[in-house]
Amino acid sequence: MKQSQSWQSTALLLMFVAFMSFACKKTPAPPPPPPPPPTANTGDTPAPALPAPTVTLRADTSTITRGAAITLTWESRNAATVDIQPGIGSVTPVGAGSRQVTPASSLTYEITAVGPGGRAGDTLRITVNDPPPPAATTSRGGDAVAPPAALNLTAQQIFDRDMKPINFDYDKSDIREDQKGKLQTATNYLKQNATVRLTIEGNADERGSEEYNLALGDRRANAVKQYLVSQGIAENRLSSVSYGEERPVCSAQTEDCFEQNRRAAFRINP
């Protein structure tokens, strides 16, 4: 065949070589970190809390074997006096406290807080069982302040048992009443494991935009963080991060699944 035109080779080959240098990572020296930016003013100040007293009484377990010790923990706010019966009496009315007890039989502890804003109370039922026959030992609850090894569970297993994810309503970041039990268990765990630092991971279900859900997850993580701080946990032990809708634990498009994904989960910091 006749070649009627003269072909021109082009520089495209060179262009392509430059194009393919995607594959070879260049490593220019990163610029030195610039100085931190000026801090802008903070947001709104929260409204002052009402002075009505609140009080809670919890234990590391509600069932023990006779002879074993149990740790009661309590927490009060806005109280002038706090009293625990039977057998304990007045305790310091400020913040949180704990006491190890060895009840001989089942009983109900009652805590009463009185302050300028009124009176509040809480009760805690402890069941004391007879020691089991030697074959069936369950040492759980034996000594709550003992190191985790004594409970035959790994530290992670105890963390997983006590630090359950907190669930939220659709498009909400308020702490639901039905989630406060889990938060109390989490609080107790953090008080008994004072060296543990953790990250609270806020998550959202897939509805709504990715960007909105990142912000919503952040709100949820912060709501849990603030709750734990209000229960006396030091803020510097708690980090938070939002994963938005990026890390679902359940992928079906059902309300049940969405509910599982609307959560704040806990992770031990290494």
């Binding site: 080779s9 495209l12 393919m20 220019p28 100085p35 000026p38 003013n41 935009s209 960007e211 912000a215």
Partner: protein, 444 residues
């Protein structure tokens, strides 16, 4: 450059004309298959890749019409002597131009072992070359090399016809979990040639291109710290913004490349309030809150700049109770709501000429998002997608003729593109979850 005007957009029912071929007299091109120079399985395959890529580039450009191959004369069209103009202009074909030629892997010479194409583009009326015949090489003998040559040839043809460079050589950044963790990837605009850009092995989200298409800003996770990071598009180390606090997300470059807007609650993270819009230098210094005082404790996010003026931004806020799109001057003044027809409006993307916002809208009473166009001149909205899935995250091509978006219409989230009037939707990704597309500018 003669970009078709988008300002003359006309609404026809629910259809919008943004200057694509809809309703316009389009240039018709014949594109017979480029012939492999040898009977060899490899070059046959590369010829197929080249032919398909070139056809798709021209077809999807929205600027030209391709003459149907069923009316072409029989034969091989490799050299000018093989072309009889009357065969290509007669009724049925009616082409104004033809591109044809051959492809090979030379066994000797400068381009030995590489995919090459001998390329012709001829105006049929005058029977003269509209572009000088040329031999281009792809450097390698791979599918990517064949596609690279085809993209550049399509681009040259469109530019020669006065349509600007077209999108054939542009790219799309996006988020994919195909290798496990969600990382930022880049692919060609047609979905081929994907490769991972970040390797945080944690989470990388919300990619955005610099106006020169040389860098990508994104939200990177390092443990419990989220920050805006910047990475060269050809790879290399990420450079984070200084002193991250709280949530830092959705970066967007100003059209002059000097500033980045993003959403952060850095000044009120401990109170649990939502993010606000910040503007910083593109290296993260001189961070200032766009609205000088907090006007809401809610969520402000997803800022985008008006690319035509660089003097105002659009963003999403739930300050009214639902998520809506607002616009504001870049000095923090003149805040006003754009979409005020109820539902949830999200993901604003400003058209390159500044006249349209593409956005995702879940209208009142609907449970799913669709892509809409808002005409900033007339204030009217028109619907571009309509199905039972969620269609979100629109992003404009640099020529303003295409929109890519994410959709779960095939199950998991995938990336699609379409003409800016909603026509010619095509799926670009298939492996894993792929989302948050960001269309590049013109790649230099």
């Amino acid at each position: 450059m003669l970009l078709a005007p988008m300002g003359a957009a006309v609404l026809r029912g629910q259809q919008i004309d943004t200057g694509t071929t809809v309703g316009m007299k389009a240039v018709k091109i014949a594109v017979p298959e480029f012939r492999p120079s040898a009977a060899d399985a490899k070059i046959n395959h590369l010829a197929e890749v080249f032919n398909q890529t070139l056809w798709n580039d021209l077809d999807f450009s929205g600027n030209v019409v391709l003459a149907s191959r069923s009316y072409y004369p029989l034969g091989n069209f490799v050299n000018p002597a093989d072309i009889r103009p009357e065969d290509w202009t007669r009724t049925g074909v009616e082409a104004a131009y033809i591109t044809y030629g051959s492809v090979a892997i030379p066994t000797s010479g400068q381009m030995r072992g590489a995919f090459t194409a001998d390329l012709h583009f001829t105006e049929l009326k005058s029977n003269r070359p509209a572009l000088q015949p040329v031999r281009w090489g792809g450097g390698l003998d791979t599918d990517d090399a064949a596609r690279f040559v085809a993209h550049n040839w399509a681009s040259a043809i469109l530019e020669n016809l006065g349509f600007g460079k077209g999108v054939a050589t542009t790219k799309i950044a996006y988020v994919s979990d195909r290798a496990g963790a969600k990382e930022v990837y880049i692919m060609d605009y047609d979905g081929y040639g994907p490769f991972p850009l970040t390797s945080l092995r944690d989470l990388s989200l919300t990619p955005a291109w610099s106006p020169d298409s040389e860098h990508i800003a994104y939200m990177g996770y390092r443990g419990s710290v989220t920050n805006i990071e910047i990475i060269p598009r050809r790879g290399g180390p990420s450079v984070p913004f200084p002193s991250p606090v709280g949530l830092n997300t959705t970066p967007a470059w100003s059209p002059d490349g000097k500033r980045i807007a993003f959403a952060s609650n850095r000044d009120r993270h401990s109170s649990g309030d939502g993010p606000e819009i910040y503007v910083a230098n593109s290296n993260g210094t001189n961070m200032i809150r766009l609205l000088p005082r907090p006007t809401s404790r809610g969520i402000d996010t997803s800022p985008v700049w008006n690319p035509a003026t660089g003097r105002e931004l659009a963003f999403v806020s739930d300050r009214s109770g639902t998520q809506q799109i607002y616009r504001i001057n870049d000095d923090g003044t003149n805040l006003r709501r754009i979409i005020d027809d109820g539902g949830d409006a999200e993901n604003p993307s400003w058209s390159p000429d500044g006249n349209f916002l593409a956005f995702a809208w879940k209208r009142s009473g609907n449970s799913r998002f669709d892509i809409y166009l808002h005409d900033l001149v007339t204030g009217r909205n028109s619907q571009l997608t309509r199905d039972t899935s969620d269609n979100e995250k629109p992003t404009w091509s640099p020529d303003g003729k295409h929109i890519a978006f994410e959709s779960n219409r095939t199950g998991a989230l995938q990336i699609f593109s379409m003409l800016a009037d909603g026509n010619k939707p095509q799926q670009l990704t298939r492996s894993g979850i792929n989302k948050a597309p960001a269309w590049s500018g013109y790649i230099k």
